[in-house]
């Protein structure tokens, strides 16, 4: 089926997620869609698959304009989407998941469906027992189930959102074989990814999005440099970098740290961080850097290795033990994890400070809050509930909650969603901390931010981690390639499950 998007436009509040996007994908093509986090890929695909409606623009299928009201409606039109976290129902059996959503009578009709399922599974060389339960499957197997299901429902165009994240190498091979088979049958494949290698190896053509704009298209053969430039922008000039404020004394020491969750393993990371040093953790979302950072905060149990903070072995201790030794963790989900909705700034400040006595001195608390509001340039009053603040002000409020002094500061996306002014302000505050001897580990998907503010960088890709790289020796292009999984030495620690 030919898929065509014409002048698709979508804004969310102040964010222009899709700016007049035009894209034509002929039947039988595997079309890659590249872009960094927040470039607008997901929005575009959600529009095509009926999750959200575009503000303006048209969708044409086989040349006919269509209006897609819902995901179920999209399937009626032959458009199916596979989500990164497959949208299936884990406590149910594979065959029930397969059937659910297909029009039919009152009875489930297991026998007929099972015949179709087996036929399709054989066609794609998938081998999942239809009677097993979905929550016992791997992400890769759940993907396979979704592919079979969507094909059975008559999908003629299939959208894959980051399908190679969290699946094994063998499953990836299987997936790519299946995708090529689908394309040869005349199905249209839209392959959304940030992994250059996957896109280069699979897609016959690729479109690149950046900041909501379709910045360019390319066909095989690709030049990696060209793709990286399109993804991250050409005219990036890294500003003057502050030199390391550290005194060379080791503050945080990680020895063979290993940590894992249900989809990733990060193994044997060793790192010595000195006072005042800033370590940037780069990588696409879900490559293992989040897991790593939380393990260094004591929020995720490590499975191997040791963590020393100020020469104290904190391995296996809880976050509160880390906190007592001067560590602090600031989450990316500000209102979900960082701040308590329904409580005022003053209440937050008082809560975060060490308690003296039984009663709260509210006057003192308000005074302190006013001082912090001024120090951190927060637009709000002591009585403002935190949810009434803008994103930038919430981030400043989170920083304002940190006690003095700190020896270790762990930050998830410290400037995500903030304007330039706020970003600069927040980093100036963080650098102040560094001068006081705090060492900082931070995650960011903004390469410029990583290069500008870190002294050293760890790059994560599917659980693999580079050795600490001097940021002076890195360029945007080099970093972009590493994040996209290219240019890795063969034997690197860590692996995907």
């Amino acid at each position: 089926m030919d898929v065509e998007l014409r002048d698709i436009d979508k804004t969310f509040g102040a964010v222009h997620a899709n700016v007049g996007i035009n894209l034509k994908v002929p039947a039988g093509t595997i079309q890659g869609l590249l872009g960094e986090n927040g470039a607008g890929k997901s929005t575009l695909m959600k529009i095509l698959s009926g999750f959200i409606r575009a503000d303006a623009g048209e969708i044409l299928l086989d040349g006919h304009p269509v209006i897609i009201h819902s995901p179920a409606d999209a399937i009626q039109h032959g458009v199916g989407m596979l989500h990164q976290d497959p949208l299936d129902i884990p406590p149910m059996r594979v065959i029930d998941n397969f059937i659910l959503g297909r029009k039919g009578g009152l009875t489930i009709g297991h026998a007929a469906a099972e015949r179709d399922y087996k036929r399709l599974a054989e066609e794609f060389s998938f081998s999942i027992d239809p009677d097993s339960y979905v929550d016992a499957l791997t992400v890769g197997e759940r993907q396979q189930l979704e592919i079979l299901r969507l094909i059975w429902l008559g999908a003629k165009a299939l959208i894959f959102d980051e399908p190679t994240t969290g699946i094994s190498a063998a499953q990836k091979v299987k997936l790519f074989t299946a995708l090529r088979l689908l394309a040869s049958q005349g199905k249209t494949i839209l392959f959304v990814s940030h992994k250059l290698e996957d896109v280069e190896g699979l897609c016959s053509r690729v479109a690149v999005l950046r900041q909501g704009i379709l910045v360019g298209e390319a066909k095989q053969p690709y030049t990696t440099k060209n793709l990286v430039e399109m993804m991250f922008g050409k005219e990036i000039s890294v500003g003057a970098r502050d030199p390391c404020a550290g005194d060379g004394k080791t503050n945080l020491s990680l020895r063979d740290l290993s940590v894992e969750d249900y989809r990733l393993k990060v193994q044997n990371v060793s790192l010595e961080v000195c006072c005042g040093e800033v370590i940037g953790l780069a990588g696409m979302e879900g490559s293992g850097q989040g897991l790593f950072l939380r393990s260094v905060a004591g929020l995720v149990r490590t499975v191997g290795g040791h963590i020393f903070l100020n020469d104290t072995d904190l391995t296996g201790h809880s976050y509160h033990a880390f906190k007592r030794l001067g560590a602090a963790f600031l989450p990316a989900a500000r209102l979900e994890e960082g701040l308590a909705t329904g409580m005022s700034l003053t209440e937050h400040i008082v809560l975060a400070e060490e308690a003296h006595g039984f009663f709260i001195d509210w006057d003192k608390g308000r005074e302190l809050t006013r001082k912090r509001i001024a120090d951190f340039n927060i637009h709000g009053t002591p009585a403002s509930p935190v949810e009434s603040l803008s994103g930038g002000n919430q981030q400043r409020a989170l920083l304002a909650l940190l006690r003095e002094p700190l020896s270790l500061l762990l930050l998830e996306h410290p400037t995500r969603g903030l304007d330039i002014e706020s970003t600069i302000y927040i980093w100036s505050k963080l650098k102040d901390r560094c001068r006081e001897g705090t060492c900082i580990l931070f995650i960011s998907s903004d390469l410029e931010e990583i290069l500008q503010y870190s002294d050293r960088v760890l790059v994560f890709f599917s659980g693999k981690v580079t050795k600490p790289l001097e940021s002076k020796s890195l360029s945007i292009e080099k970093l972009g390639e590493l994040i996209g999984g290219k240019g890795w030495p063969e034997s690197t620690s860590g692996k995907s499950k």
Binding site: E337, L339, L351, F359
Partner: protein, 345 residues
């Protein structure tokens, strides 16, 4: 901001008006002249000093249970098991009083020990619900409900079994205690200024605790967002557990007071629904301790006043409950409607 608060008041008044409208229709349906019925409730509540004493007797346990659930609500917990905690307080108090009534200890000491035992009993029962929640992952609503039934059964078992009156056990409870073991009360009434004083002290203490102490602030943080509270350094499960314990202690105190000052014995259903009523009061005041005392007083007055309906119009005194429930229901619905209204407008 100002406009919003006027809208808030508007919705609350609206809820009250609609609730009264419905109860009026119900009175008409039940064949009573509505205005006269309301008048008789008011005179039933405040018509004589005896009535006012009865209100105060009801007010006291209600204040305690309200104070308790304000703490658990603050920590984000639905302590529906409060009825059982109150019952256990009554059982423990009765147990100690029974054990010590024939000793040479001074009666005042026995009463104090009995009340303390009640506090401990309620706290222990709450700790059970809390442990089920914290360590077993059992939702406090379901755990609490189960424990409520167990506590009721335990009471009935005691009243008809080991603690039965000489002769045969009956629903009228255990053998009343000797008068020297009664909490001192005003002459010719069951109104104990001690009980009332303690209850008022508790609600005032809870008000200040939630408003002005680190403890209260941390409980609130746990209730609003336990993840954020944890990251800000609050040991979250310990605080949840603490909320259960304190609420249970107040409920137990309330049960012990029913035994030592009102009934002077253990009765089946000794909690008399005050635990659930306390939950209603807390919901109606939107969990603001400041309003607990007046609203609990209002609820107590409606309870006592409605007895008059039964006498004058042969209506069931559950009218009090109907009025209270509808009021809370409509305030909740009004709040939902307001949020939608504000969002759209």
């Amino acid at each position: 901001m100002k406009k919003n608060s006027w809208i808030n008041v508007g919705f609350q008044v609206g809820a009250l008006v609609v609730a009264l409208l419905i109860t009026t229709l119900l009175l008409v349906a039940a064949g009573a002249p509505p205005l006269k019925a309301y008048a008789s409730i008011i005179s039933g509540a405040f018509g004589s000093s005896n009535n006012i004493e009865n209100i105060l007797i009801t007010w006291s346990p209600l204040l305690l249970t309200t104070a308790g659930v304000l703490i658990t609500f603050s920590a984000g917990l639905w302590n529906i098991g409060i009825e059982g905690q109150m019952t256990l307080g009554a059982i423990f108090a009765t147990g100690v009083l029974r054990a010590l009534q024939n000793t040479q200890l001074p009666p005042a000491l026995i009463i104090i020990l009995g009340i303390l035992a009640g506090v401990i009993g309620g706290a222990l029962w709450a700790a059970l619900a809390g442990a089920l929640k914290t360590f077993g992952g059992v939702n406090e609503i379901f755990g609490g409900l189960g424990l409520n039934f167990v506590s009721t059964a335990l009471t009935i078992y005691l009243v008809f079994g080991p603690w039965k009156r000489p002769g045969v056990g009956s629903m009228s409870g255990t053998q009343p205690f000797d008068e020297k073991l009664w909490l001192p009360s005003l002459p010719h009434t069951e109104l104990s200024l001690w009980a009332l004083g303690i209850s008022l002290l508790v609600i005032i203490a809870v008000y200040f605790m939630l408003r002005g102490t680190h403890l209260g602030l941390r409980l609130k943080a746990v209730g609003k967002n336990s993840k954020a509270a944890f990251l800000m350094g609050v040991p979250t499960w310990q605080y949840s557990m603490f909320a259960f314990l304190l609420c249970g202690a107040f409920a137990g105190l309330s049960g012990a007071i029913q035994v030592t000052s009102v009934y002077h014995r253990l009765l089946p259903n000794i909690s008399n629904g005050y635990g659930f009523l306390g939950l209603l009061v807390a919901m109606l005041i939107n969990y603001q301790a400041l309003w607990a005392a007046p609203i609990a007083f209002f609820f107590a007055a409606v309870n006592i006043g409605s007895v008059q309906l039964q006498i004058q119009y042969k209506l069931d005194s559950s009218f009090a409950g109907v009025l209270q429930d509808l009021l809370v229901l409509l305030v909740l619905l009004g709040e939902g409607a307001r949020q939608r209204f504000i969002k759209k407008g």
